[in-house]
């Protein structure tokens, strides 16, 4: 049976197997759908549990268990050979899911456009960007597929589709995206003068540390502020970059490690709640 499933098919047989598999999948889902609604929650809980159990068991079961000696890899157990197919299947599933994000954006931006509500020009800009980049991107990809030599690739770049792609990507996309975050530098400058107050001794300790780290990060600190202290001199620990390095790798490291241990316990708690579906439907919306 195994060999029958895993032998590649071609031509008509391929078409039959493809359609057949989709049909079988649809029938399985229809069968589950026909069950009384309260079983659906149990099916979801069961699938979630089995999926989690697979990775947990593969990790916990020692190497060599259930695997004939000297076979594929010394560190495998009988579940390890399924890591690759699960990886590929998940990649395909997540890729198919990307369309959801696009649909949501299209829905949010479609409404103002159709009803002519204020801001319809912005929705127009959204769809223009979406359609232009998708069409130009796919056309260029298809052309590049055929271009195997660097010369052929340069020809595609020189063609209209290459030029439009660079206009959309290098011209608009990279500059728009790059500038949005650059705004924050300006907001920090105005906040520095008007909002960052040393309200408490705690805030003062924080700000003093911030100054040392800032001066240690940029060349002007080590070069001019404490450049006069020779390296290797007993007093060289006071060089701003050494003080900054010590702050980062000792007190900061210890505090971050403590936060990590908190996160570690949080990850275990959250994984248990998701794996065993302990969340009382609050997060998943309604209880069905």
């Amino acid at each position: 049976m195994g060999a029958f499933i895993t032998t590649p098919r071609h031509g008509i047989q391929l078409a039959l197997f493809v359609l057949g598999s989709v049909l079988a999948f649809a029938l399985a889902m229809a069968a589950m759908h026909a069950l009384p609604t309260r079983y659906r929650r149990w099916i979801t809980v069961l699938f979630t549990f089995v999926a989690g159990l697979f990775y947990l068991a593969e990790f916990v079961i020692p190497a060599g268990v259930g695997v004939p000696a000297g076979s594929s890899r010394a560190t495998d157990n009988f579940l390890s050979k399924y890591l690759d197919p699960v990886g590929n299947a998940s990649a395909i599933i997540f890729a198919v899911a990307v369309g959801m994000g696009i649909l949501n954006l299209a829905r949010v931006n479609g409404a103002p456009l159709l009803r002519g509500r204020p801001g319809w020009q912005n929705s127009l800009a959204f769809f223009a960007g979406l359609i232009a980049m998708t069409v130009v991107g796919l056309t260029r990809w298809h052309a590049m597929l055929g271009a195997t030599t660097p010369a052929a690739r340069r020809a595609v770049e020189a063609a209209l589709v290459g030029r439009l792609y660079h206009l959309l990507f290098d011209g608009f996309y990279s500059n728009l995206g790059g500038t949005v975050f650059a705004l924050l530098a300006f907001y920090i400058v105005s906040a520095s003068y008007r909002a960052f107050r040393l309200r408490s001794r705690e805030a003062t300790l924080m700000m003093v540390t911030a100054f040392i780290v800032m001066l240690g990060n940029v060349p002007v600190g080590p070069t001019y502020l404490t450049g006069w202290i020779p390296e290797g001199h007993w007093f060289s620990f006071a060089k701003v970059e050494h003080v900054s390095d010590w702050i980062m790798s000792v007190p900061n490291m210890a505090a971050q490690r403590a936060l990590i241990f908190g996160i570690m316990m949080g990850v275990i708690a959250m994984s248990l709640r998701v794996w065993l579906s302990l969340e009382r439907g609050h997060f998943f919306g309604q209880e069905d």
């Binding site: 990886g87 790059g178 003068y193 960052f196 390095d245 980062m248």
Partner: protein, 276 residues
Amino acid sequence: MLQDRTRHVLYLLLAAAIALPFFTGTVIPPTVGPEAKALYKAVEAVPNNKIVILSLEYEAGTLGENLPQTRALMNHLMKSGKRFAIMGFEPIGPVYGQIEADELAAKWHRPYGKYWVNWGYRTAYVQTLKAMAKDVAAAIRTDHRGVPLSKLPVMRGIHSPKDVGLVIDITPSTYYEAWMAFFTGPAKVKMAVAPTAVMVSDIFPYLDSGQMVGMLKGLAGAAQYEALVFGRTSRERGITWMTSVSMTHILIIALIILGNATEIITRRRKAVGGTA
């Protein structure tokens, strides 16, 4: 709204602080920190029969930091003829990686497919990393144009994680944690990270425990690495920009002190005014 006048003056001050070094042309050479030096040594130590993986998870938003890091690392890899592969768990990172690598490949004469390969964007990062931890070539299968890896000379002899000499994650987010948890941790592969500066503090515990062998601290890290590859007086992108960043830091420290000083003075004047 928000006393616009003061806000706009502060913005112009920042623009001036940044632009000044552009025109005076002054460049203050960087001081190379321990983390950048450690990463440089780790790259040098990669044997020729192993491959380096550059995982690029950044997009347009953080080009200012992640692109100079990518450039500095690729210059070093191509200069010393090390084999490397580009990939990413965000769609557009590998595109920028391809652009930079194409340009540098011409400069260092390292043709695609022979010295470096682009595996492209991959979804489902947890599942993909766990599959790679078992067999890298089987999990990746093709380059970003669908060419089977078996056809590319750069991939000859690269199958299991043991054939990966070093993983460097250039990222504005926490993908380096997934790399450590599902690939470099389990398969005992050396790992380094080139994050945006925002995340630098979180990474020090992993440098201390040896889970990370090096780090580039944002743009400062890129400048320090350029100094290691090209020398402290070179005019590479990172080193040039860091001079402007120095000016902005002096401005910010001055403004915070000034802001607090003016507040203390006004509060004291009000208190004196109150009692008089």
